[in-house]
Amino acid sequence: MEKEESRHVGAPATPAAGAASEPGEAGVPMPNGPPNGAHRRRMRGVRPDRKRTTGGSASATDAEPGGAVDAATLLAVRKGMIIMLVAAAVLLVFNSAGLRTWARGLPGNAASDVLVATADQWHGLMQRVGIAAAAASVREAVADLRGQPWPDADIMSAGRAETGERD
């Protein structure tokens, strides 16, 4: 009955919603997995059983053995930090104009003044090296693309003129 009920509401628990918790298709396929499966059952339209969540203290799970899991986590965290730092460096180098714009938008104070001056210098350097020009060329290309009319734009405009421009 519950399953039947769920099918009638606009959004309810269906294979689509249930599938969202499958590894690889879920929002995130966490190794922690679904906490207790209660919500997943509810998403499928079945009232969750009385298996409840715990609001217990942290110490209960602190003693988990999982040395391999710990090592994998540490490795992933280290990798994540490096990924973010390298990505930040790429942005600093190739998006100096964006950095300058951001710095200039900060509320005025002594710290932001230093930041603005540094960002200006940095952008100047990137311009001299020629890196900043690459981003500018891409922006110009995108602007051209945005402005592209249809091949038969004249005919279409003429059609519009015949029907009368409404204003």
């Binding site: 606009g10 959004a11 995130v28 919500h39 715990t54 209960a60 990505a87 945005r146 402005g147």
Partner: protein, 493 residues
């Protein structure tokens, strides 16, 4: 603090580092994340930090009270009061002005004009989301689906966790609270998957949603009379794609950011623009809200045991509530009403179709199979096929979205008048706009696990290579995207 900004990038980098340094000290980690969440929310408007804390306190207190009570009547009182308080706060901030405006119009229509207590109320960002999370917690505790939280830290963090605080997804206590008390984990796949989700979310928001907004949607929804029917039709399509990319982009970034911090959120969108019926679409669109409405509104209405009429009525009530949740205006109510009406219609047609098919199956064949019969079958198959279903669903959803986007009813009616005046010419529907709309809709038909597969393909690469890829992706988005980022549309809800 918007997600696609330098500020958030720096903020997230620091929180990522600090939270993993505190990995084995769960309480300290939670304190850090709570402080970060309040800082994140305070960056919008610090005045509402008290409201967020009050909402958390009320729900925490209700949970504790429910835990100490065994008497059913008293438990009902407690849950009733807690839900009423949550809704009162939401009602005051979100619907007070709408209520007074409607009341004033009603009174004026019967010649009873009075001074009403108007207030200049600022809508706290994300109030609909954290209120719904609070209600779901209290009701789940009342239903004994979750245990009440003893630690206020857990409850406060559940309500305010920054990735989902201002625009969802609406996370359930049963999903999130247990994760707070497990040692957080991360592996290469989740790491890369999280970054990919963030990248996809940024692409959707910064490029697709922002360009569609500035290139066509904003203009056609201000002066629809100025544009041709084709421009307006594409404008409606573009708005659907814009709001999808805007909101699902936010959800992607939120889910990705939470994953990088070691927490799992469920998917909030599942390629809804490929849906072949409105029911299908609502099972894929804003899943956390629609499942919330199902569990806390539709099911308590208990329609299924009382006949078709009652089921249809409850569907309408649920979808009207969904409309009103999105905004305090009659346009949203009408939008919700259209969704409900079409869902009822779909249900009715499907029921009639099933009955007819069953009757045809049990009836003896009246004539041997002929080319007429074969043709009839082919026509039936075409009419009920997924392509027709998708086309009808997409168009109904897009046309209904005019009410969602229009600032008032008059403008919505102007839009439809101009749309159906069948005037020629194109001005706003440029090849660029057409490409963005077509490309975005086409991606909806790709496999749902594509991103996960992609993550599997690249996760073994070294961090420097992945960092270069991430940096290049973000750089491309920043460079291709227009300067300046508009706030996410769902912040206003």
């Amino acid at each position: 603090m918007l997600f696609p900004t330098f500020e958030f990038g720096i903020f997230f980098l620091l929180i990522f580092l600090a939270s993993w340094l505190l990995r084995s000290r769960l309480d300290l980690r939670k304190m850090l994340l709570l402080a970060a969440s309040y800082f994140f929310y305070g960056a919008w408007d610090w005045r509402f930090l008290g409201l967020l804390a009050l909402s958390s306190t009320v729900n925490y207190g209700a949970g504790i009270a429910l835990a100490s009570l065994t008497d059913t009547v008293r438990r009902k009182w407690v849950v009733g009061i807690a839900v009423a308080l949550n809704l009162a706060v939401l009602g005051f901030f979100k619907y007070y002005g709408f209520f007074l405006t409607s009341l004033a119009e009603l009174m004026a229509s019967v010649g009873l004009e009075r001074d009403l207590p108007w207030l200049d109320i600022v809508l706290p960002v994300g109030i609909s989301f954290f209120t719904f999370q609070g209600i779901s917690y209290v009701v789940d505790v009342y239903r004994r689906d979750v245990d009440p939280v003893r630690s206020p830290l857990d409850l406060f963090l559940y309500i305010s966790f920054f990735p989902q605080l201002v625009a969802g997804p609406i996370v359930r206590a049963a999903d999130f609270l247990p994760q707070l008390n497990e040692r957080p984990r991360l592996d290469q796949h989740i790491l890369v998957f999280g970054f990919l989700l963030i990248l996809v979310g940024l692409f959707k928001k910064v490029i697709v949603a922002t360009y569609l907004g500035t290139e066509i949607v904003d203009d056609v929804f201000v002066f629809p009379q100025r544009y041709s029917s084709l421009d307006l039709l594409v404008g409606a399509y573009a708005f659907v794609v814009q709001i999808y990319c805007d909101f699902s982009g936010y959800s992607d970034i939120a889910i990705g950011a939470a994953a990088l911090l070691g927490y799992r959120f469920k998917r909030n969108f599942d390629r809804p623009l490929s849906a072949t019926s409105l029911q299908d679409l609502w099972q894929r669109w804003h899943i956390s809200l629609t499942s919330w409405l199902r569990d806390y509104l539709y099911r308590p209405l208990k329609g299924n045991r009382r006949g078709q009429g009652r089921i249809h009525l409850n569907l309408m009530i649920t979808m009207l509530a969904a409309g009103l949740w999105h905004g305090a205006a009659w346009t949203f109510v009408i939008w919700g009403g259209i969704q409900g009406a079409v869902l009822v219609l779909e249900r009715t047609i499907k029921g009639a179709w099933r009955r007819a098919t069953r009757a045809a199956e049990v009836a003896p064949p009246s004539q041997p199979a002929t080319w007429v019969g074969a043709a009839r079958s082919a026509v039936n198959a075409a009419l009920t096929g997924p392509a027709v279903g998708w086309f009808v669903t997409f168009n109904i959803f897009a046309l209904a979205a005019v009410f969602f986007r229009a600032s008032d009813l008059e403008l919505a009616m102007d839009y439809f008048r101009s749309l159906f005046s069948f005037t020629g010419g194109v001005e706003k529907c440029t090849p660029f706009v057409a490409f963005l709309v077509t490309f975005s809709v086409a991606t909806q038909f790709l496999p749902g696990d594509l991103l996960s597969r992609l993550a599997r393909m690249v996760e073994a690469r070294g961090p420097v290579v992945l960092g270069l890829l991430l940096g290049a992706g973000m750089l491309a988005i920043e460079t291709i995207g227009p300067g300046g980022i508009a706030p996410f549309i769902y912040f206003q809800f």
